[in-house]
Symmetry: C2
């Protein structure tokens, strides 16, 4: 990617009403653009990060079920049998179209997937089964102020599973729990599986919490055994003994919820009429569960966890590119030729490179932009390095630089 063609211009300042570090950095680095509170565009570099995260999620979810996609625009009728047209009226955008038809924008999809499942599931032989989507959700938030951590419009991965009995549900639920931990680990986030309110059909649901001062949630955490519980349902208290290991002392910790998993039982299959026939022909309600990961929130959390005063420090797995190649100093033909070749060779070798080929931009500005944008590696070409037929290589998070021949870059960054 040539920076001059990337629809990219770093900003000196983020909008004044943007107080969250994740949004400030992502706006200044021009990964995102704010259209209104809680609603952002993803510019090319931000789009790349989103794609990287979606790929990680997809790779893990494909092991659990097939991907599909449901619409955002829902008729009122699909929300009525479960009573949620009313129950969710504060968070769901609801409106009438030009002919007076009542519609809403889906904040979640249990009703819709249950409706579809009625066509697909009829027999015990169809169970268990699971499907997921990565899709745009809408939630009306009065005054969102946490940047990507809480949006009015956001991308969500939601997985739904369908079971004939609790044994099958429990087995699958545990597999998803592990799968989620893999996703967050691959995104370089340390998450705690946290007990949370379980609704009508089970004692607990589970949230995946990342410790962060930017978090809107509070959990009780035992650092000794890793047990955690959402403060809303707190059975222990800060300073008390851990109810699990009996040894650790519980701490109250701010955290960000990056995912949640929820046993739904027959909460949705009953009102919707989602049933199956067992091997003897008897009819039962299907048991369901749903599992969510917010994609933008994940990006925001990664930025909250991985930045310094100069900018973002992307983990390799989700960085929009691995190497930021900077052409520094007066753009003399020999210098351009050398840098172009380094760029072409890296691209040919399959390395993702962002090439700062801009002319008339000072070295100081280019270095500051590279720090702000935060790719894992920086490769600098200047008159000095070219004289030695080398580039100056360093990690974003370190200060130490190495002079290496272009051909050696690949070996160093491996």
């Amino acid at each position: 990617m040539r920076q001059s063609k990337l629809f990219l211009k770093t900003q000196r300042e983020a909008p004044r009403d943007e107080t969250a570090a994740n949004a400030q950095l992502l706006i200044r680095a021009n990964f995102i653009h704010k259209l209104m509170a809680g609603v952002y565009s993803f510019l090319p570099l931000g789009f790349k990060v989103k794609e990287k995260i979606i790929r990680i999620i997809r790779e893990e979810m494909d092991k659990l079920g097939a991907e599909m996609i449901m619409p955002a625009l829902h008729p009122k009728s699909v929300w009525e049998p479960t009573g949620r047209w009313k129950a969710l009226s504060k968070v769901m955008y609801q409106f009438k179209d030009q002919t007076g038809r009542e519609m809403g924008l889906g904040p979640t999809h249990e009703e819709v997937i249950a409706e579809i499942a009625k066509h697909v599931i009829t027999s015990y032989q169809d169970l268990p089964i699971a499907v997921y989507q990565i899709q745009t959700k809408f939630r009306s938030e009065e005054r969102p102020k946490s940047g990507l951590l809480r949006g009015r419009e956001f991308t969500m991965k939601d997985l739904y599973s369908f079971h004939a009995d609790d044994v099958s549900l429990e087995e699958f639920y545990d597999r998803v729990k592990e799968s989620y931990q893999t996703v967050f680990k691959r995104c370089h986030l340390k998450s705690y599986v946290t007990e949370a309110s379980g609704g009508d059909f089970s004692k607990y649901s589970h949230e995946f919490m990342v410790e962060s001062p930017a978090g809107e949630d509070e959990i009780l955490l035992c650092r000794l055994c890793g047990w955690a519980q959402n403060k809303e349902i707190a059975e222990g208290k800060a300073g008390g003994r851990c109810p699990k290991c009996g040894k650790g002392v519980l701490e109250k910790v701010s955290s960000i919820e990056v995912g949640n998993i929820f046993k739904l039982g027959t909460r949705f299959s009953e009102p919707v009429g989602l049933v199956f026939k067992d091997s003897r022909g008897a009819t039962h309600q299907v048991i369901m569960a749903s599992y969510g990961i917010g994609v933008e929130r994940l990006i925001g959390t990664i930025v909250e966890e991985h930045h310094d005063e100069r900018g973002i420090i992307w983990p390799e797995s989700v960085a929009p590119a691995r190497v930021h190649l900077l052409l520094i100093g007066e753009a003399a033909p020999a210098l351009i030729k050398f840098t172009d070749r380094v760029y072409d060779d890296l691209v040919k070798a399959g390395v993702e490179v962002l090439y700062d080929d801009r002319e008339g931009v000072s070295p100081g500005e280019k270095f500051a932009d590279a720090d702000l944008i935060g790719l894992p590696w920086r490769a600098v070409v200047s008159t000095k390095t070219v004289a030695a037929d080398k580039v100056e290589l360093k990690r974003r998070a370190e200060t130490e630089t190495t002079l290496v021949k272009p051909k050696e870059i690949n070996a160093v960054i491996k």
Copy 2:
């Protein structure tokens, strides 16, 4: 993909109010599910087709600009400077949120991209530049009845280009025109570049039309030289001479608009205040153009063009898988073992296979489903073929079958 795990069940009938062939076939084959008129879910097989088409579009668009993504939820304020909050009030879903804030769902993104471009484009050195997105659009349609050809919610690829002068615009516009023809060709559609109404800034815009009785548009077409014009602006008439080649006779032809490209001039940059400085420091308005392809409409058109009375006939490039592997007859262990091995070997060889591994389904039903689903190749394993250590291979569109050894499948379908 094992059919038993795919959240797939073909339907005997499509909803009664669904009159379009594309929707009837796609619903019966369980590629899509209708939530309400003009609003569909894409089930796993439909999702695969959508992904294939998106990949084709993306490969061609990446040659023209960088990918990004803009939101669907827009504040009224972004639509006011251009006067389109009012002008588009019939097609845009507009509503107030719970606090009375006025919002709309974007039916297109000229206003939003121009607003973003103000941060990115300041100098002639930033031009020309282009960006695109593949994103969900919403348009209020009173009574959509053409299946995927006209949706209330649909995925659109929209590309926007920005130029300093008309020469740059014309050059890029022609490149996009070629690129679009490549996209449609890769989707196995024959499209005509058709002159259409041009708006304030140029005589014509251009639509890409596919001849089809299902089309809602009428064009005048010269089959001799390929010249075409939308009937709405008709300068010639049916039966008259072609104004381009002077030899052919114009025909009135129903057609589906699968794409359009439009020179916008300064229609949007002026009210939004999108300007750049030239090399002497003088300020000018940026010249814009926009270019759209409707993804679902493309899928619908492909189905309209490629089906017979038994079902869909997917072109290889967009098929959800290449081979439909059918296990036919009583599922004896030896038969299952053989078919499983054929499946595993094909998957290992990188061939996309849909494996009908369902038990207790009659051969007739499996054959009918395979015809309905319409993968390019069908490979049948039965007691008879296993005895010869072979599978029976045929193309969806042909009746002739060949008995081949499992190892030879790859060579035949290449």
